[in-house]
Point group: C2
Chain length 339, copies 2
DNA sequence: GCAGGCGTTGCACAAATGTGCAATCGTCTC
DNA sequence: GAGACGATTGCACATTTGTGCAACGCCTGC
């Protein structure tokens, strides 16, 4: 089908036109949807293009259209189960609507983050999706001020302009409390991290509030960055005291896995007979036989679908600053005693 | 610092030039390293650029240079712990050398994959990195024929042209056998998947070969796609028979986690006293207290560093079709009995 | 004071593409 | 057969940027 070209560089429409014996415009129109080309020249062009290995240069095309087709994903800790699943779902949706994802990893030092973000603006991304609460607000403002279409996921700070997609963390956290309370738990701990992400804070506060309404106080443990290690350490701290909690709400499944492992391995406790645990996110590991964690499911597919819809609608009108809020449904497994 | 522009569209160098009262060339030179601009005009330009929120359009810049700064990552199952860590490491390195990653998810149906790949070529990516063995070889050939700089990771098929980075799967698998053999295991199973990826096949064969040399036969279980579920199912199949194996080499940590859980939860077996397990990859979960899996570490940082070096060297000369092979070192934890 | 040289600047062209407009070609109808 | 109409095609210009070349201005040295 295709042959190796002599030169190193890419093939241009001009070369295809010469080989096909038509004008460059004809080549351009062949690869433009809805343009007027006769069937015979179209065939000649496609043949020549295939022979030369021609591919339309989107960089040049984007110079003319406003639409570059690039959507930028900004996030930290992208190796986390929740984030990687989110990226998986979003990239798939993007490809389905002929967009392509550019990933900016903000885990590095903040100087490189700034540079990376600038890179993104430089590529005239069609939209910028902020995956987590971690990237600093100043970065997001830079995007907005540059006229970028910004979509925030699970970032409850109320900035004007960008569209936001959230999960009803507060409601879910309240429900989590009632699940544990109904199971008879009274000495309840909240396992969180020192990340201070808006959505994590909302979960902490929602839970605490519901507990207060029920006349209970909760102790909060924050033993490091969000992850397995911090959960394990929090378990060590909370369970070594004299009055052990009989339940824990972990604001993240990773924290929950760490916490459960500390309870079982370090203290020989049984879950759920001695200790009930509720997590959040419903990462894959929550369903593993070793954990069977009762948790709340992040509606990742719904989020991805919504993003897809927002981007498709963008072709027509400008961003509207809409806000979508999805429900996180409980997933009952085996870390909460049945009532 | 920056103001909201009236128009919707991006700011061009022309507008900055007009505001600064200089020629467009001066603006261009201000943002080009090593170009000759006086300090006074440079300052004027930077001021105007900041006021308007100007960012150099890399798409246009890439029309002139060969270098688009875009590096494309192609992979399937990118939500897998191993792949997401790889993506994390690579994106970070890329940003450090002023490149940006474009992620193509090949998990969808093959039609959309083809379309996505075409997209990539369209963006004149600087290089294409193939993360897994799953993308079909025809796609890779399309890349190569289009003059792309292709880097294959852990893909042992011997294509001419692309540079390849591999892990010495065979040696590690052989070592895995000897670890189990030395621990006294004699009825050894290999837990694999039906993916048929070259690196997975190499691990199977390396292990089997070492076993044959030691006069042992191994049984291979392939119970589905590579992942926790297939490992669990393989455990169910292997351990329900009359002569249970006393050890298993799982060609992936995810398989190992599923296998271990099946052994413990479904059959109440103890690891490692009744059953020794060795995995591969050293994903984060392998170090969790519930597993403490003895495994082989994928040298992800070395791989990422090597990619970074290849790309930086590319600026000077063309690709050389080099092959790098890294060692996967054993990580001793607690799923193999000490000798 | 003048010539030479150096640093800076602007013009114009290059890169690859999409598209409006006019010209051309073919076909259909009367 | 001729006119008209519709489909198709090519020209030229647009998008944004980098850069060679020539000109310009300023400073220095004689």
């Amino acid at each position: 089908m295709s042959e190796l070209k002599p030169g190193r560089s890419f093939v241009s429409a001009q070369q295809v036109a010469e080989l096909a014996g038509v004008s460059r415009s004809a080549v351009s129109r062949t690869f433009t949807d809805g343009a007027s080309v006769s069937e015979t020249t179209r065939k000649k062009v496609l043949e020549a293009a295939d022979k030369l290995g021609y591919h339309v240069n989107h960089l040049a095309r984007s110079l003319i259209h406003e639409d570059s087709g690039i959507v930028c994903l900004i996030g930290a800790d992208i190796n986390t189960p929740y984030h990687s699943r989110l990226i998986d779902a979003i990239t798939r949706r993007l490809q389905a609507i002929s967009r392509v994802a550019m990933v900016i990893n903000t885990s590095g030092d903040s100087a490189s983050v700034e540079a990376a973000l600038r890179q993104t603006l430089n590529y005239r991304a069609n939209a910028t999706i902020v995956l987590s609460g971690t990237p600093p607000a100043s970065l997001i403002n830079t995007c907005i001020n540059s006229g970028q279409h910004v979509i925030l996921i699970n970032r409850d700070d109320h900035l004007a302009g960008p569209e936001s997609i959230t999960v009803d963390n507060t409601a879910a956290a309240r429900e989590a409390f009632h699940m544990l309370h109904r199971a008879g738990c009274r000495r309840i701990a909240v396992v969180s991290s020192n990340a201070g992400t808006p959505s994590l804070v909302a979960r902490e506060q929602g839970f605490e509030e519901a507990a207060r309404e029920a006349g209970l106080a909760v102790t909060i443990a924050r033993a490091g960055p969000t992850g397995y290690g911090a959960g394990f350490e929090a378990g060590r701290l909370l369970l070594s005291g004299s009055d052990r909690p009989d339940a824990a709400f972990c604001v993240t499944d990773l924290l929950a896995c760490g916490f459960m492992d500390a309870a079982r391995v370090e203290f020989g406790m049984d879950v759920p007979s001695e200790l009930c645990v509720v997590g959040f996110d419903d990462i894959e590991q929550a369903g593993w036989a070793s954990y069977q964690l009762t948790t709340f499911r992040q509606p990742i597919d719904q989020i991805a679908d919504h993003i897809s819809a927002l981007l498709e609608r963008e072709e027509i009108g400008p961003a509207t600053g809409s806000r979508a809020c999805f429900h996180a449904a409980p997933v009952w497994r085996r870390t909460v005693r049945p009532k």
